[in-house]
């Protein structure tokens, strides 16, 4: 009797899980494995059965593909620029909106708003702002700086997009930091007051170390996010990473290879290279931060 019942329960649990399992297998795990499989092929979109097994050729070719190397370099540069700035600003904003300033709810909402705004709308807005007659040039003109066509200049296009990325995502990480800050009991700061810690020492000896886990999480999410950047670049450069590949990122190039050049095998190989890079970085960051078990 009991055995039957246990089995029935297991079956019921499985049936409840089935829809999501099926979805995951069909739309996530399946395509991933299939992509891994075709990354070893010269894959024909039109006639899949004409695909040719070429083993590691796609991977090897990546290293002599200038566009891929440029994309990788751009992505790394983008990540190195965006992640620290984004984290620093997010942390400072969180500290500000966590303090007793007037209108902090307004600021919290205002800083978070870009995160929930459609990336298409944000991109269009920044295209106007960055245009030759846009507000950025207008503001710089007060300092006598001549107008620049930011998004069509090979030196400024990527930094311009980095600024955009910081602006759109900083609110999200601010909220995560804010949650971390609010986990710290008020009485700990009061004890610090009585211990005679000044504002800097409070930040240095209490806030920052207690936010270590939060910082680690933000670092990982921010790094992954920057390596996977696509939408704003796609919209602003109309899908080709211009000018002269100066805003070509890895994911943008994957998209281009897959859906413009119809070179699925090659695109899949790139996707797996990107996966390895992100995976490696996450492991490295984990090692750097060490294990943190304390509450």
């Amino acid at each position: 009797m009991n055995l039957d019942r246990a089995r029935a329960e297991k079956l019921a649990a499985f049936l409840f899980l089935l829809p999501i399992l099926l979805t995951l297998v069909v739309f996530l795990l399946g395509p991933m494995l299939y992509a891994f499989y075709i990354s070893f092929h010269e894959f024909s979109f039109m006639v899949p059965k004409n695909s040719k097994f070429i083993f590691l050729d796609n991977y090897i070719n990546l290293f002599s593909d200038d566009t891929f190397l440029t994309a990788l370099k751009n992505t790394a540069f983008y990540s190195l620029g965006v992640v620290p700035v984004q984290m620093a600003i997010a942390f400072l904003l969180a500290v500000c909106v966590n303090s007793d300033i007037k209108g902090k709810t307004f600021f919290r909402v205002a800083f978070f708003l870009p995160t929930v705004t459609s990336s298409v709308a944000v991109s269009l807005m920044f295209m106007w702002m960055y245009s030759k007659t846009g507000i950025v040039n207008y503001l710089f003109s007060f300092f006598g700086i001549p107008a620049v066509d930011w998004l069509n200049n090979i030196h400024f296009a990527l930094p311009a997009l980095m600024a955009l990325a910081v602006w759109t995502t900083v609110g999200n990480f601010m909220i995560i930091y804010l949650a971390g800050l609010q986990e710290i009991p008020k009485s700990v700061y009061e004890a610090a007051d009585l211990d005679g810690l000044n504002a800097w020492q409070r930040l240095r000896f209490i806030t920052w170390p207690l936010l270590k886990n939060t910082t680690y999480f933000v670092l990982i999410m921010s790094t992954i996010g920057t390596f996977q950047v696509f939408d704003t670049f796609y919209i602003i450069t109309k899908g080709d990473g211009g000018p002269l590949d100066s805003t070509m990122t890895v994911v943008l190039y994957i998209f281009k290879a897959a859906f413009k050049h119809f070179d699925m095998g090659y695109a899949s190989a790139m996707a797996f290279m990107l996966f390895l890079v992100i995976f490696g970085l996450s492991i490295a960051q984990r090692l750097f931060f060490g294990r943190e078990e304390e509450a």
């Binding site: 009991p185 009485s187 700990v188 009061e190 004890a191 610090a192 007051d193 009585l194 211990d195 005679g196 810690l197 000044n198 020492q201 000896f205 209490i206 170390p209 207690l210 270590k212 304390e294 509450a295």
Partner: protein, 357 residues
Amino acid sequence: MAAVQFKAVTKTFDTTVVDKMDLQAREGEFVVLVGPSGCGKSTSLRMLAGLETVTDGSIHIGDRDVTALHPKDRGVAMVFQDYALYPHLTVEENISLGLKVRKLDPAEITERVASAAKVLELEKFLSKKPGQLSGGQRQRVAMGRAIVKRPEVYLFDEPLSNLDAKLRAQLRIEITRLHRRMKKTVFYVTHDQVEAMTLADTIAVMNEGKIQQVGPPMELYRHPKNRFVASFIGTPQMNFLDAELDGLTLKTKIFSLRIPDGLATEFTDFPKHFTLGCRPHDISRAAAGAGTAAMSADMVEQRGAESFLHCVQDGVSIVARCEPEDAPSPGENIHLRFNLARFHYFDSETNERLVAR
């Protein structure tokens, strides 16, 4: 010169939480602020610590007016209810951080931490982090953090309320010992009147932002100034009855007693109706007779060494003490004798004590 002095201190948030509070403590005195939650006791302590601003009035420590001083400059150390330890630091670092930021000589710091750890039996835990300690050990660390600062005044904000009963009793004794050793002024906030009675040299009972009475524990127990203090100090709570004087006969709903001639003069200024208070320990079971109250036993509260009877009659509830072997069964009809010599009398309107003894 009082070591600590509150002079007409008022604190207003949206409402007035502390109302023109006057209180002073001698140097080395152990003062317990006690009262129900929301009575303003914690706010008073936090104003003394400098964690809350003072709306009006002034606070003095020694001969210094500290009202506007930063917490670190007041010469106080505080132990918090939730311990407020730095979770990422070891016990040793927790205790010494306050000394380090004051740039004390490292040898001095080591010496102070070692001596505090010895007193509090924390030597084994110095390299542990707070997360690895029990509640009682954490509270000791919090006390260690206070001790090493060698403050003039120690502040305790309900330090034992997160601990279980056994540990609470143990730490109560330890705090008393510590106080005896340090000989420093202590301000201690609690809502637990047992804690107040056992620890204090002086108890200040607060209610609704006002100090109700200040005095040694037994003074408050024996001569409560008003009905609030009478009901707050002592457990189980004092019984209150509506009473009236008919000549020299004291009448309540459940009994009447003749006042002995020798005591008659005490009642000359009494109003006709007033409130009579009698502690459970001053009521006992008796055989039926003149002056006793016939009641029905409702419930027996066993405490081991003694028992408390909850009795009812004509809508009046009384709690009386009795020996455990004397305890009746629920529903039994019994008689109680009230000890007139220990009665307290309160004005029914103002709730103030009648007859100043």
